[in-house]
Amino acid sequence: MTTTAAALEARLSRRSIRPGRIIAWTLLFLGGVVMMTPILFMLSTSLKDASQVYDLRLIPESPSFDNYIAVLSDGRFLRWFLNSLLVAVCVTVSNVFFDSLVGYTLAKYQFRGRYFIFIAILSTLMIPTEMLVIPWYLMASNLGWIDTYWGIMFPGMMTAFGTFLMKQFFETVPDEFLEAGRVDGLNEFTIWWRVAMPLVTPALSALAIFTFLGNWTAFFWPLIVTNSRDLYTLPVGLSSFAVEQAIQWEMIMTGASLATIPTLAVFLLLQRYIVRGVMLAGLKG
């Protein structure tokens, strides 16, 4: 069977080096380049000075990092960057912990009310964030959470999507592993943390990537809950910065680049995990 499959594969691949394939590859490559043009133009313009902005060549005539120095000099961007990082990291840690704890409990314990809890959590997926924003705002202002990190973070500390994803994965963990832990006298929390969690690391990384990215780019809720500049996250700060710069496009592009470069760097480092994580989350979620 393997030999026929291999023979077929060989025949297909021999057939594949044909003009049609080359044309398809070329078109895909050109399409990919077109996809990247906004990002390339952004990066290129961030390296130009005000007099060169109208020169639309992609390679700057005399590239310089002056814009970056100017934008970073007053420390605002650094502050927004750290705010975003803090918020995204805290929310991600919370989701990785709680979503998997709840997913594990719903997947591996038998108790009355389990199904009810699962359906209740799942049903929150239908409620759009926008509907909750007004009550959250009311809650945040009553409890003094406006303009605080906790105010930005609290709505996302757990998600139904993450819980559902983790439940799916914990269901694939064999019960024997957990029983072995019980025989060894581990308590239930340790069994989850030490035995079950290491077995679902691909799912955990998928959840972490999605949560981090979602919070890093989040705009709507941080826009509502922050008033003071010092508490802005990077997207909110960038938006206010761009408005203030009016038509100084090279400065706006520098700000936009500063918001984009970190994610690009992380992607280039973790490309395989990120793509696999997106596939996992998309298929199981």
Binding site: S13, A24, L27, L28, G32, M35, M36, F41, M42, T45, V53, Y54, F98, L101, V102, Y104, T105, Q110, F111, I117, I121, M126, I127, P128, E130, M131, L132, V133, I134, P135, W136, F154, M157, M158, E188, W192, L213, W216, T217, F219, I224, L234, P235, V236, L238, S239, A242, M253, G255, A256, A259, T260, T263, L264, F267, Q271, V275, V278, M279, G282
Partner: protein, 307 residues
């Protein structure tokens, strides 16, 4: 029951529990914090949003019950119908366009071996960008000559300049473009994952039978890809119905303009709640958004499941 008596007593109780009961106790312990969270941060606010939609609360005066007044007001508000139309335009253009493009890319990219990872990265990277940053890049692209890249290209080809964001007809597609662009990478990856999940034996059998590529696509690939298609249709539709970041940033001086022709419902909610402070009215709009999302998802699932 005093504080000192409690540990002793519960210690005895714990000893008496069976192994099974202990596990149930653990389960509820694990769920304790999440139950409080989902109750306080999800369910209670949901009920509150419904309740607020029946009041005239506006941050200045205490909320008073006004019945269906907000909903009646919404039905006769010409702005709402404009916004309703815009929101559905984002959906009706955005979802099919983005799914067709991403499927074509995924279909061919899946067969590419040479530099597969690199080409995939070119399509995927825009998905990782911040919508706000890219909204400003695209906004710059749409500027008139000599600033904007698009108009420079049009002029180069001898085509007259286009107003793009300043036009009541072109602004909505112009704002939709970066949203489609940024979402493509995700859809391509999911489509490729779906394509890979189809057993190759189907294709082999069809090829041995000499079936044409197009028939294979229509009779084998697309039907077997249905779960992926259903997921992406529902997922991307919800995304387009909730579009906000791009609209808010690309026409900042007059968000939703020109003349409200690009304003989606989420922007209307934002302005009603946090600019006009008309919380009761805004809550009614969020309830309408919720019902639109629910209805669209259910209709799509119904239609796609049947086929």
């Amino acid at each position: 029951m005093t504080a000192t008596a409690l540990p002793v007593k519960s210690g005895r109780v714990l000893d008496r529990l069976s192994l099974r009961q202990k596990r149930v106790l653990w389960a509820w312990t694990f769920l304790a914090v999440p139950i409080v969270f989902y109750g306080a941060i999800r369910f209670w606010p949901t009920l509150e949003a419904f309740a607020l939609s029946f009041t005239n609360w506006n941050l200045l005066r205490p909320a008073a019950f006004v019945g269906l007044e907000n909903y009646k007001r919404l039905l006769v508000d010409p702005l709402f119908w404009q916004v309703f139309r815009n929101t559905f335009l984002y959906l009706i253009i955005g979802t099919p366009v983005s799914l067709v493009i991403s499927f074509v890319i995924a279909y061919y990219l899946d067969r590419v071996r040479f530099m597969h990872g690199f080409i995939r990265a070119l399509y995927f990277i825009p998905f990782l960008t911040t919508a706000v940053a890219m909204a400003w890049v695209w906004r710059w692209f749409y500027q008139p000559v000599p600033i904007g890249v698009f108009n420079a290209a049009l002029t180069w080809f001898g085509i007259p300049q286009q107003p793009f964001l300043r036009s009541t007809t072109q602004a909505l597609p112009a704002i939709l473009a970066p949203a489609v662009w940024a979402g493509l990478g995700f859809q391509v990856i999911i489509f490729i994952a779906g394509l890979r999940a189809i057993p190759t034996s189907y294709y082999e059998a069809a090829r041995i039978d000499g079936v044409s590529e197009f028939t294979i696509l229509r009779r084998i690939t697309l039907p077997l890809l249905k779960p992926t298609i259903v997921f992406l249709v529902v997922f991307s539709s919800i995304g387009f119905l909730r579009i906000f970041d791009q609209v808010y940033n690309m026409n900042f001086n007059d968000p939703g303009g020109p003349l409200n022709t690009t304003k989606p419902i989420v922007l209307m909610i934002y302005q009603t709640a946090f600019k006009s402070l008309d919380m009761g009215y805004a809550a009614a709009q969020t309830v309408v958004l919720f019902m639109i999302l629910l209805a669209v998802s259910l209709i799509q699932l119904r239609i796609l499941k049947d086929r």
